[in-house]
Symmetry: D2
Subunit: 357 residues, 4 copies
């Protein structure tokens, strides 16, 4: 951590399922300090009274007593960064207003993710994409800017693909997901729909995962991101698990590889956050388990030095031939797949001087 | 149905989870009549007292009052066919004894499935493989013979691959399964292991599914089965669902195909059991659902004209390109994937004269 | 069944979770014939397209093609009876309109249940309460009338209390429920709330169960129902089960009783529907299981001659002394606890001449 | 904490589900130091290799590398106390051998719980019962002694009854439990038995809970425990939840009480461990929640200053009249209901000088 000054934080969508994870994580943060909570219907109420709190851990008492403000730039006055946990329907307009007003917004919403001049960040993979922020400001004439983080399902997948592409030339990925209930927010999936069942469909998810992964894994040159050429076939399923997205990956590679070499590539993978020792960066972005029957959501979703920030991989083995790898991966969908990556992005921005003086 | 004579049936392993499904299905059968129940520790007791019955439907009263016999050939005297629902560890030896003693055995156990002279039957796919029984008898010097049915996971998959291979030249299949608890028998999976969890591993399952599918889909020539050349990459997972194995399939084909053409190929698929109008043959071996979010285990596992005997397919769409197809399939693991296919095999054998006068 | 004329039926709230059960049950009924489906937002659409169908069994094709009408008396023209599966908020007003317009309404909604002149029917218990309908018409100046059926939780409980009161003078009942998800309708309970959890509260449920049971078990004299003096203490819980409300009952009695005598009292209990052999009347309104570990929702909720219409009781034993009985009961909440009892009430009304010519 | 000397600990039954909780809790303990792990079939292996570890948290590395010893007194040489997490079948004999050999045994097994001279400890309730240890030694001629802790279900219940008895004269308790899967150990309840189900029976549990509670709540005079006269009616159920036993309690009292007074009595309850500030003693043995819908197992089982050691109570209300109280309570069955109370008992013994110099 380079500059431990206090960074003032505002949060859009504070009472939603996604927003709650920030309230759960940030009070323990060494320098990000939540100053303003903003919401829609909850505006004017104390956070602790407005929220349908989803976690076993109690709400931080200071947060519980904070009055939620209306979602407008004046509410965030004095803040260095605005996290957006808004639903995508409203995110497009509201986030734009904050950026116009001079705020740096880090958004989990899908609204701006695929905009050509908006970085879609997983700091371990594409720290250099932050450079888009400058051209974005110029082009849009904004004083502020918007950075985004990806869909929960694509996050763990992209992290695993990164070293496989770099080291073995992964060129095709066939993926099947078994996704947790919290990925659908609250109230989300009705219990009558998922009890004693699996649902083989999540609206728009497969398209999002593929498109976003190609952008995240793409290369920046001349201010433009050239998407990764990797081809993807994705099948998304919902299973009755609270947290933790499981995914099977079958990857075709450009060269022969042993499972051992693939495991080594995955477990030695490090990114800019590890080099910078950012507070929310796990020691091991990818943890490799050697047992036959891991990862498992209930046992492994909070593994690692920063709980929920590591992707856990297991069952690494060849596919049909030596030029293919099969594995199972698990990623905590509301930490690494949402608030955690957004917080890590903010830390990276602060560390690299994107958050102003 | 060609010959409605009464066929006398004996059952090995009657009290186990697999055996119970026969007791659940056979009392309603038009001509297969259960005459002898055989077991291990349960021998000497009334079936209704010896069994830990797993179904909501009550045990057929006649069966409940039947005394379980010891698992030896004399116990099946006078029977035309012996179903084996034995655990694989004991199946190898016991089934051999019955075949030596002159019985035709139809076994769900894995013990003999991969023997070169033993047919591995899904009657819709490979009715002609029954011809192996004659050479088996000659070669082994047995008066009886053994036929087998496949692993529960491979059954639905093979049925879906058959028309895709025949019509579009499917050459590679990447499969991820989400398998039901009943596939592990009783007591099977501990609740503490699967509650709020997914287990990404089922011992030996992936190897079995691949090898068996290649045999089932193979061609018989000169008394030898030449395995299908299809290449398979399989990832097996256990989920918290009682019955019904879900599987995603990504298939590479030899030619361009539209989802519509693939759906038509699947839903018009018929086999020998449909032509012979066998009593346990469903009108549609494969049912295609057009909704986005089907099949689902709880809603679709008993679909079709013979509940549990149809494979339900949905989400048919191209993969990375027009030479690939993705879909989701659901197959009832203890009906189509076990007792149902064995009963259908017995019906085919009776219809084609394999069960003697 | 005394008069097998066809009775024409209209249904209010046809697409809701409660209404669907009628569409599931009535097409097989010997003389109740669904003529008109009515709904709110679904009006104008074909039923099969408007409904989010919750059952594995497919929708009856005739029903699926029926166009849903608006919820007003003209839509039910020519019908002999109107079932109401409306949410309670709208039931009060809409049902009144239908009764004013001359229709006999049988309602599952709570709106009118506790009105002094409205019978609250469980036909096995209080067939004679139907006599209230005449005074209701007189008093209200209606051509039609409203009969109601109780809350799902109170139905099974009241049926078990009836013989215990009559034979042993049950005077106090301490009850704890473990209620199924379908009792909350659809979408109802969010999966994130109930997964790996128990919820110890169901809004207004405890009050309703106690008040309704006292009315159901009350005696009619001089046109007024005198509530049963039984005292009740009730704790309602939600558990992760789709269908089937479990309840433990601890009853203080006026006299000594053995478990055997209590079991006999329960299993020999019969009511007017059994004497009249009404089509939806189960042979045994109460089934007594002797095993230690029954009833269980998944195994027993559809027990009996009319699936879902029998209450299943087990674990009958004394409490602290011989003047108390403890037991566990299970009742299918959307059949016996909802549509089934309403249909049985309609059959009773038809049989006793309440449905006009 | 009076004497922070290091206390050397041995553990019987280290690899079982109960034993694992000690390995999970003790490495963080300020002065109890695990010196010897003992097991049956696991003897001779490293703990990390012998155990089927059930928790998400990894095994303490030192413990994982410790070689499991045979379950005999020599293996515990030098230890000040022996925790027994043995199955009851073997506990009777093995624990006796350790006590004869001079060890102080604190056992979770039921074998010796009801022996007249063996204390059955919940330190908040009956710290003074430890005095039985002296007479036990004299009477049995042992150098060591056995203390026990109660069944998991009775622990939370007894803690709630204690202040209700002391302050309001609770004289009858009607209890229904909804118990977690971990209470049955591992492999324990088969998933096929509990998925989409409730099981209304746990063998011997109801008898144990009643008898043990009367002993725990009893008074010691002249070296003999006089059981509490409270009368109990208990119905035990298993539900699909991993940890946390829920119970509804209906208590008849000797005097009028308001819910508010009952809540105050519960939340101000303190015992000897709180006065002694023992390390595993929670600040509040009983936490009272005021919301309608609490406690809930998933949200509240780890509440309090020592996670899992507080009983959480909610829904406090009158029963049929002002001389009765109804409430719902939740207690973590493998912490407060097992290892946690045993550890707290050891701390009490150390603090009061029962563990020798």
């Amino acid at each position: 951590m380079t500059r431990p000054r206090e960074v003032k934080v505002a949060l859009l969508g504070a009472t939603g399922a996604v927003g709650q994870r920030y309230i759960n994580m940030l009070p323990r943060h060494p320098y990000l300090h939540l100053e303003a909570l903003m919401g829609g219907e909850s505006a004017g109420k104390k956070y602790g009274e407005a929220v349908h709190w989803l976690f076993p851990d109690p709400i931080d008492p200071e947060m519980a007593g904070t009055v939620v403000k209306r979602a407008k730039p004046e509410s965030a006055k004095g803040c260095d960064i605005v996290f957006s946990a808004l639903p995508s329907e409203v995110a497009a307009e509201v986030e734009t207003k904050f950026a116009e007003a001079g705020f740096t917004v880090v958004s989990e919403a899908s609204a701006h993710r695929m905009d050509a001049d908006v970085p879609l960040m997983i700091p371990e993979i594409n720290a250099e994409h932050l450079a888009l922020l400058e051209s974005q400001k110029r082009k849009r004439g904004w004083k502020g800017a918007i950075a985004t983080t990806p869909n929960c399902t694509g996050t763990g997948l992209s992290m695993v693909l990164k070293p496989l592409i770099d080291q073995f030339g992964a060129k095709r990925a066939i993926v099947t997901t078994m996704q947790a209930l919290s990925g659908a927010g609250f109230p989300g999936v009705p219990s009558l729909s998922i009890q004693e069942n699996v649902i083989p469909y999540i609206k728009n998810e497969e398209e999002k995962v593929a498109a976003e992964a190609k952008k995240i894994l793409g290369t920046l040159s001349n201010g433009v991101i050239k998407p990764s050429p990797i081809a993807m076939g994705i099948s998304c399923n919902r299973v009755a698990v609270i947290d933790g997205h499981m995914e099977t990956l079958y990857a075709d590679l450009s060269q022969e590889v042993t499972p051992r070499a693939a495991e080594k590539s995955l477990e030695t993978f490090r990114g800019e956050p590890q080099r910078l020792k950012l507070p929310t960066a796990p020691d091991h972005p990818i943890i490799v388990r050697k047992e036959d029957d891991r990862p498992q959501p209930r046992l492994d979703r909070l593994a690692g030095s920063v709980p929920g920030m590591s992707v856990v991989v297991g069952r690494v083995r060849n596919g049909i031939d030596g030029r293919s790898i099969q594995l199972t991966l698990l990623s905590h969908n509301t930490i690494r797949g949402a608030a955690g990556t957004a917080i890590l992005t903010a830390e990276l921005m602060e560390s690299e001087g994107y958050l102003g003086t």
